[in-house]
């Protein structure tokens, strides 16, 4: 970034939608339904002053639908109100105070309908999606087992506050709707705005601000208010600024993931059978449920060698706001289950958790739980050994167990206990679904006559530092000065659609596409006349590689791996928990930039600890000492690997094991607070 831009950014010179005003501008607020679970009969709106308008579903010039994978979400309620706070309409007016006052007088009448059936019942009305991974013969595997063990694990997803809020400003200039907003999925916003206002996609011009990392459902949620704002601007023919309420009705609803395991072990502690049933609340419409559930099933099967597996997952609908996808789109959360189980199995078979893992991890030639063949040796055993050495895991773990076992014989109770835990995970930087809304990605690069290079991404990189990294990389590759390289994150007249920038797709897939198009340009550069344009598009894997319906095959082409060890200190009197150290060993191919990667990892550790400790943020004073080891593979064909979700997958289970050891209680669910430990319950 050049100096002036950076200075301007620090000095507060960058404008956000809420900073925008224009002469004839009107304000808009979303009117949400306080009541739910019924058919909307009437919305009672008080008599509005002349300059005010209440826009309902039927007033939209275009479609009232947001086509997301697995569902079509209405922008405004048309018939059934499924959750509290569902948008009923958009109220516009010149004065925000009057707007809020009248907004609070709007009432709605609904005719009650039955709620979604409870999660425990398999009812098509509430079950959004069911997925199953099957391999071998489960009964035979169980019969062969010497020991059958069970485990039940629960994780409540944390609330991750996200800024900026959904403020949106829209104005019309020469037939185009200019939209200022915050988004990390511009393609979706453009598509939806065009649908809702019944205009062409070319007529929507987006100006968006980059913001911090988007962890979960915020990836798509700004698209709904954006579409409504454009629709209002097209009806009113005036600039509209939508103000998002402070106490947004999407306020935190605790969501649970439950996983029940039954596992069979032979006399050596090897898995003979693995059965799991998992269920998750998918919210009111179940959007993105198949991708999330597939990933959940995949990771809850782990990567342990077992011939007989049955993993069944269910995403059920409830009368709560839609919230998928969560951070990591389900993969990290499933690892919590299987790694908790792995620690439990190791314990029960009297084996050190690291040794148990290395005994059971799939080897080259084995089949993955999804029946795809393991073509290359996984780096995990070495990573586990390495992290054990560095953290002194084996000794500390054995010592922790010893202290707990001999506790009764001690005259004096120690003032504190320590515990240590381990877990592993992987990440695949691709979507498992073949839905183009998710997977589409393309990069168009043009070398202009004056020597400037322009790259159209149609996507917002997940971290702001990535643009600077790309510039450096391209500059080196093509010997073009960085000042002559520019990125266009979104082009109004471009029909290309791109999926969301999550799962490290920007650092992996986009970097690959940028490299490819630059290489092509380099080949033609001194042979053909300028300008030269090259486009690289992401090609999805074939159905023979991965069948997303039957969940058979090799789900990820180039996975990254992580092993984590977490150290925990527990104060005996107050049961206060501290996490002094975390060791991480990561194998993710080539790393674009080590320091950015470390930053990324640090941010994920913070989120993972929020998940463990029921906190909204982890203060620097309680942030652990981090020991990160990148195991870069020097081999030639290495690709840039993904990082997103690796830490989130490994840290929670390692933390829970460490707390179990330190507290002497069997910890089966997260998050945890001192109060839970004082009560001796979890």
């Amino acid at each position: 970034m050049d100096e002036d831009k950076f200075r301007n950014r620090l000095a507060g010179g960058i404008r956000f939608p809420e900073d925008m005003t224009s002469k004839k501008m009107v304000y808009a607020i979303l009117i949400r339904s306080p009541r739910y679970q019924g058919i909307l009969e009437e919305v009672d709106v008080p008599k509005l002053p002349e300059n005010m308008l209440f826009m309902r579903a039927k007033d939209l010039p275009g479609k009232n639908l947001m086509p997301l994978p697995d569902c079509a979400l209405p922008l405004l309620v048309e018939d059934e109100v499924l959750y509290p706070g569902q948008p009923l309409g958009l109220l516009t007016g010149a004065d925000p105070e009057i707007l809020n006052k009248i907004g609070s007088q709007i009432r709605c009448r609904i005719r009650k309908t039955p709620p979604f059936p409870p999660a425990a019942i398999n009812d098509p009305r509430s079950t959004a999606i069911i997925k199953e991974i099957k391999k071998g013969d489960l009964d035979r595997g169980m019969n062969k087992a010497e020991q059958i063990l069970k485990g039940e694990y629960k994780m409540i997803m944390p609330e991750v506050p996200s800024y900026p809020r959904n403020n949106i400003f829209c104005t019309k200039e020469g037939g185009r709707y200019i939209l200022h907003l915050h988004t990390q999925w511009p393609s979706l916003v453009r598509k939806l705005c065009a649908l809702a206002a019944n205009i062409s996609r070319k007529q929507v011009e987006l100006h968006f601000n980059t913001a911090g990392r988007t962890w979960d459902s915020h990836i798509w949620q700004s698209a709904v208010p954006a579409a409504l704002t454009v629709a209002a601007a097209s009806i009113l023919r005036q600039p509209v600024r939508l103000i998002e309420e402070e106490n947004i009705a999407m306020s935190f609803v605790p969501r649970e993931l439950n996983i029940h395991y039954t596992a069979g072990l032979d006399h050596q502690g090897r898995l003979t059978a693995l059965m799991a049933d998992l269920s998750i609340d998918a919210g009111a419409y179940g959007c993105f449920a198949s991708e999330v559930l597939t990933r959940l099933c995949l990771s809850s099967a782990g990567f342990y060698q077992c011939r007989n597996i049955r993993i069944r997952g269910k995403a059920y609908q409830t009368n709560t706001p839609p919230w998928f996808p969560m951070a990591g789109w389900g993969l990290p959360q499933g690892f919590f289950g299987v790694e908790m189980l792995a620690n439990h199995l190791a314990e029960e078979s009297g084996t050190d958790p690291a040794i148990w893992r290395n005994l059971n991890i799939v080897e080259k030639g084995n089949l993955y739980p999804t029946s795809g063949q393991v073509r290359q040796r996984l780096p995990l055993p070495e990573m586990v050994d390495d992290i054990c050495r560095k953290s002194d895991f084996t000794r500390k773990h054995a010592a922790g167990r010893q202290v707990r076992q001999n506790e009764r014989e001690l005259d004096l109770l120690p003032t504190g206990y320590s515990g240590i835990g381990m877990a592993v995970s992987f990440q695949g930087n691709e979507f498992l679904s073949r839905n183009r809304v998710l997977t589409a990605s393309s990069v168009t690069t043009t070398l202009h006559k004056e020597g400037n290079l322009e790259i159209i991404l149609n996507a917002v990189p997940a971290t702001p530092s990535l643009l600077a990294l790309w510039k450096k990389r391209i500059s080196k590759r093509l010997s073009i000065p960085e000042e002559q390289i520019s990125f266009i994150l979104d082009k109004p007249d471009d029909q290309a659609f791109s999926g969301p920038s999550t799962l490290s797709r920007s650092s992996t897939i986009l970097t690959r596409l940028i490299d490819q198009s630059c290489d092509l340009i380099q080949k033609k550069r001194f042979r053909e006349a300028l300008p030269i344009t090259e486009t690289g598009s992401f090609r999805r894997r074939t159905k023979t590689d991965w069948d997303e319906e039957s969940l058979i095959g090799t789900p990820f082409g180039t996975p990254s791996f992580a092993a984590a060890v977490v150290d925990v200190q527990l104060e005996t009197a107050t049961m206060e928990l501290r996490v002094p150290k975390i060791w991480l060993s990561l194998n993710c191919g080539i790393i674009l930039d080590k320091s950015s990667a470390r930053s990324f990892i640090e941010a994920e550790v913070r989120l993972a600890l929020c998940q463990c400790l029921k906190k909204q943020a982890i203060k620097p004073s309680i942030f652990p000492e981090l020991h990160i080891e990148f195991n870069e593979n020097e081999s030639k064909n290495q690709r840039i690997g993904g990082l997103e979700g690796l830490v989130l997958g490994a840290v929670p289970a390692a933390f829970a094991q460490a707390v179990s050891l330190a507290s002497g209680l069997q910890i089966n669910s997260l998050p945890l607070e001192s109060g839970d430990l004082l009560r001796g319950v979890n």
Partner: protein
């Protein structure tokens, strides 16, 4: 209610209801948009301003409380040498902040480093916690803070 105060070194006044939040008054009445009104409940720190040399959350301050006092926002701070120190420090350390929190982070870092010229570990933690964000890594930020403090010390010496 008429409230007279000093804003970014200039005496000024505003006629607003006494209960209005300082954040809204500064943003709407004076177009000082570097401070963000994000959580609106004293959690995120993104609306921080300097009130009589103290950092305060302007979303938590009813405007009548600033009567006769002096308020500084990032727009005013950007004109000072202190701002330059932070700019140089952050630039050198490669601190990548998002547009949204960058101004407040700059203000809080600069002001707290006035107080802690040679910050120790605890003081660095305080500076880090002044803005709540789960996306900027502490490591690079710490580097940025330390570099800023060195640049400032050098400037003050010369």
């Amino acid at each position: 209610m008429l409230i007279e105060f000093v804003l970014n070194d200039e005496p000024t006044s505003v006629e607003v209801p006494a209960y209005k939040r300082l954040a809204d008054v500064l943003r709407e009445g004076f177009n000082l948009t570097g401070l963000r009104s994000a959580c609106g409940k004293g959690y995120c720190g993104l609306c921080t301003v300097v009130l009589n040399e103290e950092l305060v959350y302007s979303c938590m301050i009813p405007v009548f409380q600033i009567r006769g006092k002096s308020v500084q926002t990032i727009e005013g701070y950007a004109e000072t040498e202190g701002f330059n120190d932070v700019f140089e420090g952050f630039k050198e350390a490669g601190v990548h902040l998002c547009d949204y929190c960058a101004p407040t982070r700059t203000l809080t870092t600069g002001i707290l480093l006035d107080r802690y010229v040679r910050p120790d570990a605890r003081q660095i933690e305080e500076i880090l916690s002044s803005v709540k964000c789960n996306c900027t890594p502490y490591e690079t930020l710490k580097k940025g803070i330390l570099l800023t403090s060195q640049i400032r010390q050098k400037r003050l010496k010369s």
